[in-house]
Amino acid sequence: MTCCCEKTESALEKLARLEPEKTAQLNAFIDTLPIGKDIESNRAHLIIALHQAQGIFGYLPSEVQQLIAERLKLTRSEIYGVISFYSYFTDKPIGRFKINVCCGTACFVKGANLVVEQFSRELNIKEGETSADGRFFLGVLRCVGACSLAPVVMVNERVYGNVTPAMVSQIIADCKD
């Protein structure tokens, strides 16, 4: 007779199997936090734990959320609530090349939105998404402080100034693994 007993490995077992070092690193960090029985005070350490976890894993997949939930004795839904509230946190993997188009006032007036649209067309992703091959992330920023070069595009640490839609394919071609 079949029943509801799950014989598959749990999410946490899967995480420990696929990412043993990163998992140990995150666990070691949480060990340093004064976590107790009181949920209210544990909650105070959530953001820092998420911040570290994203630093270690690059993003916050559901297994990592679950680990943090269990260690901090919070619910998984609450953790997801926090992650989805802050644009800094992401539960999806981020592309290796983080293309960020500045859409601050100066860049915007000089046509940054057209640049975003062009990237979006060429990479076939929307703002905030990562391409299927995991190479490109497309995001927008609010003013990088280089208004004299508007519109500005940053790819990881590299800065492009006076960008026009026509330059987009060259910027993409510059991205070499």
């Binding site: 007779m1 079949t2 029943c3 509801c4 007993c5 799950e6 749990s10 559901s62 959320q65 679950q66 619910t75 998984r76 839904s77 609450e78 953790i79 997801y80 609530g81 989805s84 509230f85 539960d91």
Partner: protein, 591 residues
């Protein structure tokens, strides 16, 4: 006491009272939407998020939300100034502007707080137009449907799930216009730790959270000449369904319920009360055995599938504690598809078993694979009290003028002990009535005199009755001091289980029901409770359960003649090999 004036009427109220409560004392109802006070469970949801309750306080520049503003000495409140009325209407219009407004085809039509406010405020046009939230409907699984495009972000469901039940699968996610309530990573509910208690459904003021309905499937079965369709009705349905037909809460409508089911075309109308008596036979036998051996105590009841789900998810190390007895719904199904199908010469796959339940977790339970031997489900469809009421209306059956009719034999006769299953404390009381007789009739060889009455044995165990979340009682039966606890609401269950796990508390028997107050407050019951926000409806339903018990000639499960008969003719004795095969189950850790 604090003295203030509301609309120039003086009123004195204790410190800490809100303007809303003070106004109610004067007979003034200030409209509310996000606020809810489950006073009998000591939980109040005061998110202050909708602002439909704003009133004018003299000297304050801003309007004050009445539901979460405490009164102050000398306060001068005006609930119906033009400014307050305009603000409330604007709030409502803005809510409506981002609402699908498909009331005519919404399950909550005529049971929706937003709809009734629009009618009370006399809204004729909606001045604002704009983008509308579009979110995919989650109707995975068997029990609960989430349509978050209808959500008004009152976040009552979060309080129900996280504070009352401590299940914690719902949370506010995203922000701004994209904000909604969802489980982790927008997973469908059936992939989370949700136990399907349906308390969030009762809490939702609009049509965002409702049940998954099987009315169409049942209509099809009823109209299929190759099927024999029988029905069972749970204890708590008879004291609540009348509310859907303008009866007073707490009116017992058992006879009309039976008659209505016959008019709908069910071949036989049976009673889950009958199988509740059967549950007691099996469960009390286990309790008797565990007390005698002193091993594996306490015995936890297992008739609530919401609670069973909670145990499997949250306490996977404690799966040995509950009774292995199936719930009355599943016992009924198992007997119907074996004993009864044989009796009437119908193939089990042509016998359709429908249950009418106060419960949404029972929809999930009926679909568990272990309850479908050889792929044939023991219980085919589960309808909530609400769904049945709607079928009765659709069929044009005049519920109120129906005569009182009786259940059919042989799965319809029941004792008073079974009907109290509907209220928190009832299962334990029923088990105690039977176990007490067995203990008092002690046999020299240690066996049980299963079907004997004992002289002067107790019937009413009033200490375990009532809506309180945790009740404890020590009952003296002969030489035995039996320690029992009764818990309803999963937050209370968690507290008690943690004490048991740590060894801090010791009991012989514990009843646990997922829904606060028991099945009378089940997730499938009429919505009357949530819209009134008070405990009077529950109190009335509970009292009705005990009135029904008192009205029965036989009040102990083991004296029910049809129960005695099925053991003599078919099962042998409680916990026999056949009884184990049909009436018992096991639990699975879920992580």
């Amino acid at each position: 006491m604090v003295n203030l004036k509301i609309n120039n009427n003086p009123v004195s109220v204790p410190e800490g009272t809100t303007i809303l409560e003070a106004a109610a004392k004067l007979g003034l109802k200030i409209p509310t939407l996000c606020h809810i006070n489950w006073d009998c469970f000591h939980v109040e949801h005061r998110s202050g998020s909708c602002r439909i309750c704003v009133v004018e306080v003299t000297g304050k520049p801003n309007l004050a939300p009445a539901c979460c503003t405490p009164v102050a000495e000398g306060m001068d409140v005006h609930t119906n100034t033009m400014r307050a009325i305009q603000a409330r209407r604007t709030v409502l219009e803005l809510l409506l502007s981002n609402h699908p407004k498909d009331c005519l085809v919404c399950t909550k039509n005529q049971n929706c707080n937003l709809q009734s406010l629009a009618s009370e405020f006399n809204i004729q046009t909606i001045r604002y137009e704009g983008e509308q939230t579009k979110l995919a409907v989650d109707d995975n699984g068997a029990a609960i449907r989430r349509d978050m495009s209808k959500c008004i972000m009152c976040r009552r469901c979060e309080t129900a799930c996280n504070v009352v039940q401590t299940v914690g699968v719902l949370s506010g996610v995203n922000r701004g216009f994209n904000a909604t309530v969802a489980p982790q990573n927008f997973l469908p509910l059936d992939q989370t730790a949700c136990v399907f208690c349906g308390q969030c459904v009762l809490a939702c003021p609009v049509g965002a959270l409702t049940e998954i309905s099987y009315k169409d499937e049942v209509w099809q079965a009823l109209n299929d000449p190759s099927k024999t369709v029988i029905v069972q009705t749970a204890p708590a349905v008879r004291v609540a369904i009348g509310e859907k037909f303008d009866m007073q809460p707490g009116e017992i409508s058992t006879g009309k319920l039976v008659a209505a089911l016959r008019r709908l075309g069910f071949a036989k109308v049976f009673d889950t009360d009958w199988s509740a008596d059967l549950t007691i036979m099996e469960e009390a036998t286990e309790l008797f055995g565990r007390i005698k051996s002193g091993k594996n105590l306490p015995l936890l009841t297992s008739c609530c599938p919401g609670w069973v789900n909670f145990l499997e998810h949250q306490f996977p190390d404690q799966l040995h504690m509950p009774s292995t007895a199936k719930s009355p719904q599943q016992m009924f199904g198992a007997i119907a598809k074996s004993y009864y199908a044989d009796l009437i010469g119908v193939d089990p796959s042509d016998l359709v078993v429908v249950s009418i339940m106060p419960c949404l977790a029972k929809k999930y339970e009926a679909g568990r694979p272990e309850f479908a031997p050889n792929g044939v489900r023991d219980v085919d469809y589960v309808l909530s009290t609400r769904e049945l009421a709607s079928m009765i209306k659709e069929a044009g059956v005049m519920f109120n003028s129906l005569p009182d009719e009786d259940y059919d034999d042989p799965l319809g006769e029941s004792s008073g002990a079974s009907v109290i299953f509907g209220a928190s404390g009832g299962v334990l009381e029923a088990a105690l009535r039977t176990a007490a007789d067995w203990i008092l009739n002690a046999q020299p060889d240690g066996s049980i005199a299963y079907f004997e009455d004992a002289a002067d044995s107790p019937i009413d165990f009033v200490a375990v009755r009532g809506l309180e979340g945790i009740k404890e009682a020590t009952v003296k039966i002969g030489d035995l001091e039996l320690k029992a606890a009764v818990v309803s609401g999963l937050g209370n269950a968690r507290k008690l289980l943690e004490k048991i796990r740590s060894g801090e508390s010791q009991y012989h028997a514990i009843e646990i029901m997922a829904c606060p107050g028991g099945c009378i407050n089940g997730g499938g019951q009429p919505y009357s409770f949530c819209s009134c926000g008070g405990s009077d409806v529950l109190e009335a339903r509970k009292n009705a359960v005990y009135r029904a018990d008192e009205g029965k000639a036989i009040r102990k499960s083991h004296l029910n003649p049809s129960i005695i008969k099925i053991y003599k003719d078919f099962l042998g004795h409680p916990n026999s090999e056949l009884a184990h095969k049909l009436l018992h189950t096991h639990y699975c850790a879920k992580k």
